[in-house]
Structures are given as structure tokens and as C-alpha cells.
Amino acid sequence: MSWRTFWRTVVGRAYPRFIGVWREKSWVVFDVFFPLLQVSAYVYIYRAIGAPPEFAGFAVLGGAMIAYWMNVLWSMASQLYWEKESGNLQLYLIAPTSRMAILLGMAVGGLTATTVRAAGVILVGALLFRIPLQVSHGALFFGVFLLTLVALYGLGMLLSSVFLLWGREAWHLSNLFMEPVYLFSGFYFPVRALGFWVALAASVIPITLGLDALRQLLYPRLMEQFRFLPVETELGILAGLAVLFIFLAHRGLRFFEDLARREGRLTLRGQ
């Protein structure tokens, strides 16, 4: 398979997600308005206890990153299950293209579409709650953000390959992962509050370290007392996780596809 076909596949599979942003406007309600309600709850708690205004910024940033976690769980990890149900999976698998290209297309499309949603949360949240947003190191901030997303979508690709084998169990597992990660990754508060070992264990989800690093770059003075690890260390771990997840996704996809082919689980029985 040529690189041209690889990239055409990426663009082709990303396309429905790009176009979905413009054609399904309901995301404004479900992905911006509803997350803001939850963010609001935390903002008002912080205000009620007299916490510095930057704490509201923690909550808004966490609310924006939730959009990515939801996207990874429901539109990456569980996606191949939906594709199997709709009959797309078998068409992907008989195409003479790379499965990684299909996953990458899903990731690139999902990432782009989710960025629009996340930007919506930050913009509306910042305006609504008058949150101070002053990025101290713009390039570094952007780099951490990008690396967090690469590692996160790498994890999504890995989960996607694992979930290839399962049917409805994938749906249940996504449900299982959703809420606990909100807590353990510190979406609404600095993760250090959970203690070093819990934070370390939660770091397997790249958003944990990504959020911590982004908060440090956004509110350096305040985060001195709340940071989990230095930004450079978090950056290094994120890079390691990105490589590891993408490598495992590549290997896992082949392994689980072969296994599913032997067990007859790639298509719906009778279809």
C-alpha cells in the first residue's frame, strides 16, 4: 500500500467528522452548553469558599478537556463497535488500505471537530465567568496541548483495537471509564489533591498530566503549590505515552483483528 493511499484514507475517514461539525449543530447544546453547566457548579463552589479566581480557570480548562475524553471514549474506543453494527467495519477491513490510516483518520477528524467544541467551552466559560487567561509560554503551552492530544488519541486508537474484539461490552467499558476519569484525572481541580500515588496511577490517562502542565503554564504562580510534577517531566512522560500507545495500537490492531477473524467476530453473524 502506498503512502498516497494511506493519506487518502486518513482524509477520507476524517471527512465525516469535519463535516459533522457544520451539519449537526446539536453539539452546541450537548458539547458546549451541558459541560458548561457542570463547570458552573465548580466555579460557584470555588467562589463560595473564596478561592482565587484562577480556580474557576481550572474548572473551565477541565471542562474543555472533557470534550476530548468523551470523544476518545465514544468516537474512538467504541467506534469500531458502532462501525460493525452499521456494516462499515467489514468494508474498512476488505479495503486494501492500512487499518492504522483508518484509525488515524478517525482521530484527526475527531480531534479537529472536538477542538471546535472545546474552544466553545473555553470561550463561553471565560466570557461568562470573566476568567483570567494569560499564557506565559505560548509555544510550550501549544506543544503540551498538542502532545497531550497525540497521547490521548494514541490511547483511543489502542482502546479501539482492543474493543474490536468485543461487542456490547465495549459500550459498557466506555461507560465504566467515563465518570471515574473525571475524578482521577482532576478535570475540575489540581490532581495533586488526590495524593502522589493516585495521581501517578491516573497519569496513564494522558489528560491527567496534560491538564496539570497546562494549568502550570496558565497560572504559574498559583500552581507552584498545586503542581503534580514539573512541566518538563510531564512533557517527557506524555511523549513516552504517545509513542507507547501508538505502537501498542499498531500491534494490538493486527493481533485483535486476527483473533476476531478466527473467532468470527469481525462481522455480525448472519450478515
Binding site: 493511499t5 449537526e24 468494508l91 468470527g264
Partner: protein, 334 residues
């Protein structure tokens, strides 16, 4: 036949599905979906697999399309082993299934087809040209900009057909392509398939169907499959010729609900199928020779049946199936 001249070849191909505990049927934990299937399909042929639901047709297609591994035996597509080199097989094939709901509802017909073309590395301009051409051939050109979730099932299947042909595959698997479609749409699809093969004589189509008229009308050769085994394989005319010495009758009788007890095991009765129809019992009989009919009628009379109608029929593929399997194609696999 030399391997290069064959589009599809299977050797003792077998597939067993192991059932989970909760799926076990009548204590059986395994289903033998394909039982030592040997097939050779030369390039350029429209080959049909005719059999009831559950006969193993789709299992065979899935193995050939690299979606399912065989339990034992071997299969080659375009001369390539489907287990040893599935990636190479995929360069030669495409597949369309009946009742397929593939694609994304929020994309238009054209966008969906373009997306699938990208997976085959077809440049966008060329893909759009082929899409326009094929949509117009299946009568869907005016729906190119319609979102897929607004299409009827017939239109959707036409789009699926275009998806299958869009990549100009050497070997195309059509799995029940007209399943559940109205007569007009099914006819359009059959015409399209026939014309495409006429224009591309080097291409091969493997079609599964349980519509015998579809197999009869389209296929160069047909394999009759039941319970995972190929029972006969020849041109439709040759298969029907198998029944030439025998006599095929259709009888309508009144006064009995079941004629099997009266006719089963009767000398000269090769096969019998019955079905209630408009308050009467329809009997399809294959007799060793016409003379047996007299004994059949007298046996029915003794059983209390009154003859309402009697027709001598030309043998069809349905009759061939009945003669081979002992039940009608529409009755499914028990």
C-alpha cells in the same frame, strides 16, 4: 484448470462456529457452516451460490473476502491464499451485501462514495468521474447530493452497488444484493450487473442468492449449497436438465391439510413439497416418470383429498433444489 485462470478456488474448505454456552442450540455447541467445500470459479464468470438462509453462502463469501478464517482447508482468490496473504487478496476484490446500511447518514451519496474510493487510493477527480457515471447507470444521479439518511432502502442499495463497482474490482462478491428490494429496483440492479460484466468480460462476480430466478437469469454457473455442502454445480440449464427424465407437477387439493403421510415413501415419488395456499394445499411433486401420477392421485383420493387443479411444470432451479434437498428453497435450513 491452471491457478492463474481461476478467480476463486477452494480446497476442502470448512468452517465451524463454536457457540457460547447461552447460544447453544439443542445441546449443540458447534455449527458446521461449511463442510469440505471444493469450488473452482474461472475468471470472467458470473458464478452463483444458491441456497436457503443458513446454508453457508455468506460464510463462504466472508472467508473469500478475508473477513473470516476457515477452520480447515484452503481458499484462493485471484490465485492468492486468503489466510497467508489477505492484504494481497484485498487489492483484487470488493463486496456488496444485501440490506447493507454502510456509510454515514449525514454525508451525501456522492460524499459517501468518495470516502470509500479514498480507501482504495483513487484520486478525487477520478473518483468523482466514476461516481457520476455509475450513479447515472443505476438511475441515482439526481440523488447524488442527497444525504444518505434521506434515501429509501432501494436507493441505498443502489448506492451500495455503485460502491462495489466504483473500485473496478477484478473479483466482486455480491451477497444477496437484491434482498428485500422491490421488483423494479431488483431488476435495475440485475440489469446493471449484467451490462457491467458484458463491458468487463475479464471480471468475475460471485453472487449469493436465495432467489432462484435471479440465479437462473444472471449466472453462467450455479452451485447449490445446503447445510454447508455443495450439492450440485453446473450451468442453470444443465441443472434443470438433470430433471428432464423426471416429471414435475403442481397439484392443488382440497380436504386435507397434510399430504405427506399419504405420499411419503411411495415408489416413484422423488420429492414432495407442500404449502397451504388460499384455503387449498399446494403440492409440488417430482416423479420418476409421468405414469406415477395415477398412483399418486389415487393415494390422495384414499386420504380424502379432492383434486382442484393439476399442472405439469417445466423444471426450475427451485425443483432442482427440491429434488436434491427434499425441501423448498424458501423453507430455510432447519
Amino acid at each position: 484448470m491452471a491457478q492463474e485462470a481461476l478467480a476463486v478456488k477452494t480446497e476442502e474448505l470448512t468452517r465451524v462456529f463454536r457457540l457460547r454456552k447461552r447460544e447453544a442450540r439443542e445441546g449443540r455447541r458447534e455449527i458446521l457452516a461449511l463442510d469440505r467445500v471444493n469450488l473452482e470459479v474461472p475468471r470472467g464468470e458470473l458464478f452463483g451460490l444458491l441456497g436457503p438462509n443458513g446454508a453457508g453462502k455468506t460464510t463462504l463469501i466472508k472467508i473469500l473476502a478475508t473477513l473470516l478464517a476457515p477452520t480447515s482447508g484452503r481458499a484462493f482468490v485471484a490465485g492468492v491464499d486468503v489466510v497467508a496473504n489477505p492484504a494481497e487478496v484485498r487489492r483484487h476484490i470488493n463486496m456488496v451485501c444485501g440490506g447493507e446500511t454502510s456509510g454515514y447518514g449525514l454525508l451525501t451519496v456522492e460524499e459517501n462514495l468518495w470516502m470509500f474510493a479514498q480507501f482504495y487510493g483513487i484520486p478525487s477527480r477520478e473518483a468523482r468521474r466514476r461516481i457520476r457515471e455509475l450513479l447515472s447507470l443505476v438511475g441515482l444521479a439526481d440523488r447524488a447530493k442527497t444525504k444518505v439518511y434521506h434515501l429509501s432502502s432501494g436507493m441505498r442499495q443502489k448506492m451500495n452497488i455503485v460502491r462495489g463497482f466504483l473500485t473496478d474490482p477484478e473479483i466482486l462478491f455480491l451477497d444477496e444484493p437484491t434482498l428485500g428490494l422491490d421488483v423494479q429496483t431488483a431488476r435495475t440492479i440485475r440489469e446493471f450487473v449484467r451490462n457491467w460484466l458484458r463491458e468487463h468480460p475479464d471480471r468475475t462476480i460471485l453472487l449469493t442468492t436465495h432467489y432462484m430466478h435471479e440465479a437462473d437469469e444472471l449466472c453462467d454457473r450455479v452451485a447449490i449449497i445446503d447445510r454447508g455442502r455443495i450439492l450440485a454445480c453446473a450451468a442453470p440449464s444443465e441443472l434443470k436438465h438433470m430433471l428432464q427424465r423426471e416429471a414435475v407437477f403442481r397439484l392443488y387439493v382440497e380436504g386435507v391439510a397434510d399430504a405427506r403421510a399419504a405420499l411419503d415413501g411411495m415408489p416413484g415419488v422423488r420429492a414432495l413439497a407442500q404449502e397451504a395456499e388460499d384455503g387449498r394445499l399446494r403440492l409440488d411433486l417430482i416423479l420418476a416418470e409421468e405414469g406415477v401420477l395415477v398412483s399418486v392421485l389415487s393415494r390422495l383420493q384414499e386420504a380424502g383429498a379432492k383434486l382442484a387443479e393439476l399442472r405439469k411444470e417445466e423444471p426450475t432451479l427451485e425443483d432442482v433444489f427440491l429434488a436434491l434437498v427434499g425441501r423448498r428453497l424458501t423453507e430455510g435450513t432447519p
